[in-house]
Symmetry: C3
Subunit: 331 residues, 3 copies
């Protein structure tokens, strides 16, 4: 493995082998296997799980890591090609990425969507402009439209919980004070499709996932024996659901238009997941969320503190699958 | 040992054993004893000694650590139960604490007093709301009313300096531009009482330590053969003192009232410790302060740069005693 | 070696031996030689290369490090002797430096020029006020007028590129939106002189390097068989150049006067290095810059992306030479 940037770069069998490796390393840790190896972590955006779990994963394997936050203790970085740099950015990623890569054995980059131009974000313009600057093993710590570490942890979480491969996976939009990126819903959708599940995207009007995202998931489902569809009808979607995967995201009908987004979202505060959402799901339907989650805004306390919640296991699995990814990239 | 949260959780003999372990590890380091172990450090407030010395202590024992600063590279965290999270905080500690705990073998948390409601701060409402969320070995890196790592380092410092168990320990208020928390004075008072000293709290009117803090220290003194009293009379208090332990704190007579505090404190700039404070102390009376200290505001240069100052030894002992605490928690 | 603060503290032979050690450690890493050793890194100013490469260098040698950023997660620090501390700084370096030094085996400090008083900056008043507070092995991570790690990496870069000892080294000023410190031009000038090169400082009127800086370099050149002179005539300076070392710095004719500096610099946007600067240089003339560099402001894309650019190698050599420095200080 040279890069871990997108689950779509791997066959289903390769991903299953990676999950198996994660389980093996849980049972049989290899505390010195990456002795002397260094992971560089470049965060353009805040993080809790990714920041802590990657450092922990390297330590669990005997390696080390360093963290760079542009604009916070480190120089603000320019990403646009050809920029005449008279603004706040003191350095361009065309210098910074190869330099950081020269100090480590593997580089992780987190850079969220700019949220202005859907086409640019779908094309992963910003992440790719950095990815092309190094040949070192590269890890996507969340890009505009992807979050493969989260998706793999989610896959493992469903395996751990014995959720059937063909089970019903409902990816539901939830309310948030402002527009969030599409990375997690796009990655979760694709992962569930790849896993072979019956996937339903439940979202209000105006919040449909981009056609390119849906089509990619449909292709994945086709190969894995599953299906992907979308709806705004909550009751019908939740009928018999095995997993309710909750996520907040911005209005795609007016991408990059904060006022339009706010207009569409303001009447939707009822999209906060409460116990009554589970009236017609499978009895043991579990709730997933990548975190961070706003309590009583996206998901109510009664759900997060209840037995259905799998959010802690998802987060814990971040460490587990990333340990496997680092093992594959750096061993 | 499962937690290091409050010296009161331990018997005097257990604390003496911990101090003995600290001395043993100074003489006979165990550089691989925590190989593979990870300490998570969660800082809601600034730090220099705690931040550096815990990372150093883990490294000295062969382990690793990671640092999370909510709101600075990591998500701002909500601490109130039942909050409807529409504000700045993207995540609740009810998620964040168990998640971070799942990435490490021991978790340290620093969260200062809110400084609004004395009852809530005395009850350690905020720290305890986090402490109850994990079963992992937990370390108090300074809470509303406690700082056990500092207190243990201070105890060791007095042992190092051969300050007699029954010596006179004067905890004196000092001037500061604004109200600071009660954690260090409360912890130092309790520690000196537990050590069996003759403890005098010297403070201006309006700055008496809370009754609950004084009573707790008096109970500790009773068991250890010492005593605790308070006064506003500086000359009398300093008479024959072996230790002058200096600390700034807020007016308890108007806790949470910044204007009232400022009114009480403004005439007190004379409470800056100078050489003439030692006219009637024991000849070799030493000055202690937990740091950070504002020079020529709380303590004058002539004192900090003089032979009486033990502040460097106190700070160095942070590393020493924390190494012992980590050894006990994680070995 | 007790300190690595200024190349001038070492003989030419000692520096050559250090460069040889850097090359040896590239070929034959010593991944456990600093096991158990800790490097403390204190950054008063932003950093990318220094921050990442020192952590990486310690890890490559089996050691650990911690990072303190005053004012960002750690207390703001006062540096002035005798200050009455009623402002933003909660702690004085007279406490902080010895405390941090007590937690580590070697301390690195980065503190840029204040840029107000040239005499104070030339005297390294701020850095020296901290350096005198510890006997631990000390590393200058960039001070007011020096950057020895960068200078040593630059020396190695020219060795790697087989630039002849007696080659022509042109240190050229370049445009930047505001006045930057003199540390790198002063250090690069001195290094090239020490290496025995024919050194020319090319700068507009008003931007001459301070006489003390020029004289020091001239003395170094004298001992090494090289020369140092300055000019504002670009074509003549670049004639036959082997190295064009580009750097932005503030107007010395009005040091500390932002308005005066802006007036002098505003007509100079033509000092952006483009391909046509190399019309009369040696055919294989290389471009060096310490980074960060503003693209199309100080150096054009066409140069940075072209074959002449040695900036990546310079940055990579930071890790290499610092590994040697740490090996010498801490082995």
């Amino acid at each position: 493995m040279k890069r871990f940037v997108d689950l779509a770069d791997f066959s289903r069998d390769e991903l299953l082998a990676l999950l198996e490796l994660a389980r093996r390393l849980e049972r049989q840790p290899e505390p010195r296997v990456l002795a002397g190896k260094i992971l560089g972590l470049l965060f353009f955006n805040p993080s809790l799980r990714t920041l802590a779990s990657f450092q922990a994963a390297m330590a669990r394997l005997g390696g080390s890591s360093f963290v760079i936050n542009p604009g916070h203790g480190s120089w603000a970085l320019e990403t646009r090609r050809g920029a005449v740099m008279v603004g706040a950015a003191a350095e361009h990623v065309r210098e910074a990425i190869p330099v950081l890569a020269s100090y480590c054995d593997s580089l992780g980059i987190r850079v969220f969507a700019e949220g202005r131009d859907l086409g640019a974000d779908l094309a992963e313009t910003t992440f790719n402009s950095m990815a092309e600057l190094t040949d070192k093993p590269l890890i996507n710590l969340e890009s505009a439209l992807n979050h493969p570490c989260q998706a793999l942890a989610d896959w493992k979480t469903m395996d751990d919980l014995a959720v059937p491969r063909g089970g019903r996976f409902v990816l539901s939009w939830a309310w948030h004070p402002r527009a969030l990126p599409l990375a997690v819903p796009a990655a979760a959708l694709h992962m569930a499709a790849l896993r072979g599940m019956e996937v339903i995207v439940l979202r209000p009007e105006g919040f449909a996932l981009p056609a390119a995202v849906m089509e990619r998931a449909q292709r994945a489902a086709l190969g894995a024996g599953g299906s992907v569809r979308e709806t705004a009808a909550r009751e019908e979607a939740l009928e018999g659901a095995d997993i309710l995967y909750v996520k907040e995201w911005g209005a795609t009908a007016c991408y990059g238009d904060a006022a339009g987004d706010a207009r569409l979202r303001s009447p939707l505060t009822g999209w906060c997941v409460r116990n009554d959402w589970f009236a017609r799901t499978a009895p043991d339907c579990r709730v997933m969320h990548c975190l961070p989650v706003r309590r009583n805004t996206a998901i109510a306390d009664e759900v997060l503190d209840g037995a259905r919640s799998a959010v802690q296991r998802e987060a814990a699995n971040r460490l587990s699958v990333q340990t496997a990814v680092l093992h594959q990239l750096l061993k």
